[in-house]
């Protein structure tokens, strides 16, 4: 069920809210109801995915109990639990990618398995790994199956994040006061949901019509249209993702549950370090806290070059996490190298004028998103060539293209609104903070 579907907005969400606030009068357990609602929400896509998430929840709960009891072999069990999670993800998400590459290298013809790709598996896998590490570190004391179940499957954050922590969510979900209807939270939540809906349905969808039409005809793009298309995709991607997260945040807030911030005006970033502090914040935090820092700790002694190597490893993983394709790996490594250069600049105290920094960052991100959007490296190279190599014969075409752009009022209006929203307005989280929830 998509957040912007009529089924979600007009049936599922109102009914869920009504029962969430109403069932306490019948002394019905809110945890059980939210679990049921979340299972229904998840199964709506495809009920065949349900056993996989149920297996993940059960296995991870079992591992957490072992980690709480064990002392002597605790580390081994932590590794085992992480391996099981990564294997589950690898089997459903990366096995065909591995087979495809194996066939290419060894000239074999192994048939791909075409396994179904369970929805949200990337998110709930990372969330569960973080949970297990927290249990291993004795940061989580009390684990009950129903609480852990809801922590993983809670429908607002299940599909596209934010990636949440157990100790952040469970106190909120357990707080009986949150079962009381709060008009202020409801109104702010509804506002955030509507902002997200506008971003997703109007802005992202309008831009996607233009982007899809141009990217389906790569050969006919020129220097101007390839730049305009790539910039439109950057805005589309931001509105699509942040819009969806806004709808998640708004839905949860209507139930008095505050989800952590995931976007903080990332297109205003003035460096790549700054970008990753503003874009998909909960993923950045996961990568920093659970991959980068443990890698660095294994080195024992700090050295700057070691931290740069760790960044590249982390962003290789981050790229691959986004999807089973070399384009995603390049996307990750591109950002990894950007961060390395950024850290070198920072270490040697090299500073640029902030407008230049913003311009370089925006274009770096814009180029990286080409690898994210297109399916193959070849397609990405075609676009990059079009963007950076000017052909004289294109002069007439540019004039025509500008005329087409000028007549495409819908695109122009959408682009203007996009620019104003991204660069002149504060973001949804500033709005939540400003209106100070609770």
């Amino acid at each position: 069920m998509l957040f912007y579907s009529f089924t979600y907005l007009l049936i599922f969400l109102p009914v869920t809210l009504l029962l969430y606030f109403g069932l306490r009068y019948l002394k019905f357990n809110s945890f059980h109801f939210l679990i049921f609602a979340s299972i229904f929400f998840y199964s709506w896509w495809n009920i065949y995915y349900l056993p996989i998430i149920l297996f993940s929840i059960t296995a991870n709960f079992y591992f957490s109990k072992i980690l709480q009891k064990e002392d002597s072999h605790k580390k081994k069990y932590l590794f085992l639990s992480i391996i099981v999670n990564v294997l589950l993800l690898a089997i459903f998400k990366y096995l065909d990618f591995l087979i495809e590459n194996y066939n290419l290298i060894f000239n074999t013809k192994i048939e791909p398995l075409n396994l179904p790709f369970p929805l949200a598996i990337s998110f709930f896998t990372f969330q569960s790994i973080a949970f297990l590490i927290n249990v291993y570190d004795n940061e989580i004391k009390e684990i009950k199956f129903e609480k852990f179940f809801l922590f993983v499957i809670f429908f607002p954050q299940l599909i596209a994040g934010p990636i949440v922590k157990y100790n952040y969510m469970i106190p909120q979900l357990s707080n009986k006061d949150n079962l009381r209807f709060n008009s202020k939270n409801f109104i702010i939540g509804l506002t955030i949901l509507l902002i997200g809906l506008f971003k997703k349905v109007y802005l992202a969808e309008s831009l996607s019509v233009f982007v899809e039409s141009n990217y389906s005809d790569l050969e006919n793009l020129n220097i101007l249209s390839s730049w305009v298309t790539s910039i439109c995709f950057t805005f589309q991607f931001y509105f699509d993702f942040s819009g969806y997260v806004d709808m998640a945040t708004g839905s949860a807030l209507m139930m008095n549950i505050v989800l952590p911030a995931n976007f903080n005006s990332p297109l205003k970033a003035t460096s790549i370090i700054n970008f990753w502090q503003k874009w998909h914040i909960t993923l950045s935090n996961f990568l920093t806290n659970y991959i980068y820092m443990p890698i660095m700790k294994t080195f024992k002694e700090f050295a700057f070059y070691k931290s740069l190597i760790a960044i590249l490893i982390v962003f290789f993983i981050a790229g691959l996490w986004h999807g089973p394709s070399w384009n995603f790996v390049i996307f990750g490594l591109f950002h990894g190298f950007g961060l390395v250069i950024n850290h070198v600049f920072r270490t040697f105290n090299i500073k640029l004028w902030s407008l230049i920094s913003w311009f370089l960052t925006f274009n770096f991100v814009n180029i990286s998103f080409i690898f994210f959007k297109l399916e193959s490296i070849n397609q990405s190279i075609i676009i990059l060539k079009k963007m950076f190599f000017f052909e004289k014969k294109e002069f007439d075409y540019h004039a025509n293209y500008l005329a087409i752009l000028n007549n495409d009022y819908n695109l122009l209006i959408t682009l203007c609104i996009s620019i104003i929203i991204c660069f002149c307005f504060k973001n949804s989280y500033s709005l939540i903070e400003k209106l100070s929830i609770r």
Binding site: D137, I273, N285, T288, N289, Y292, M293, F302, S307, H343
Partner: protein, 77 residues
């Protein structure tokens, strides 16, 4: 080491690891206050604290020790 010594040592470690002037640090300083207290320098701080105070910092704690006060609280306990 007294609590006051701890604080002074924390300032020294943060200053040495990040390049932030010692004078600019106080008990309310947090990671997000300074651009230079980034994830690369944060791990430097963590490793230095472990070495100096001979205390093991686990993965979960590494993320939560993101301010002078949280580091001090961790060391005082």
């Amino acid at each position: 080491m007294t609590n006051r010594d701890n604080l002074s040592e924390i300032f020294k470690i943060i200053s040495k690891s990040t390049g932030i002037s010692y004078d600019k640090l106080d008990i309310n300083t947090a990671m997000h206050d300074f651009e230079r207290w980034d994830s690369v320098n944060h791990i430097k701080i963590i490793l230095e604290i472990e070495k100096k105070f001979k205390k093991k910092i686990n993965t979960t704690q590494m993320a939560s020790l993101d301010s002078v006060s949280s580091i001090k609280k961790f060391l005082d306990n």
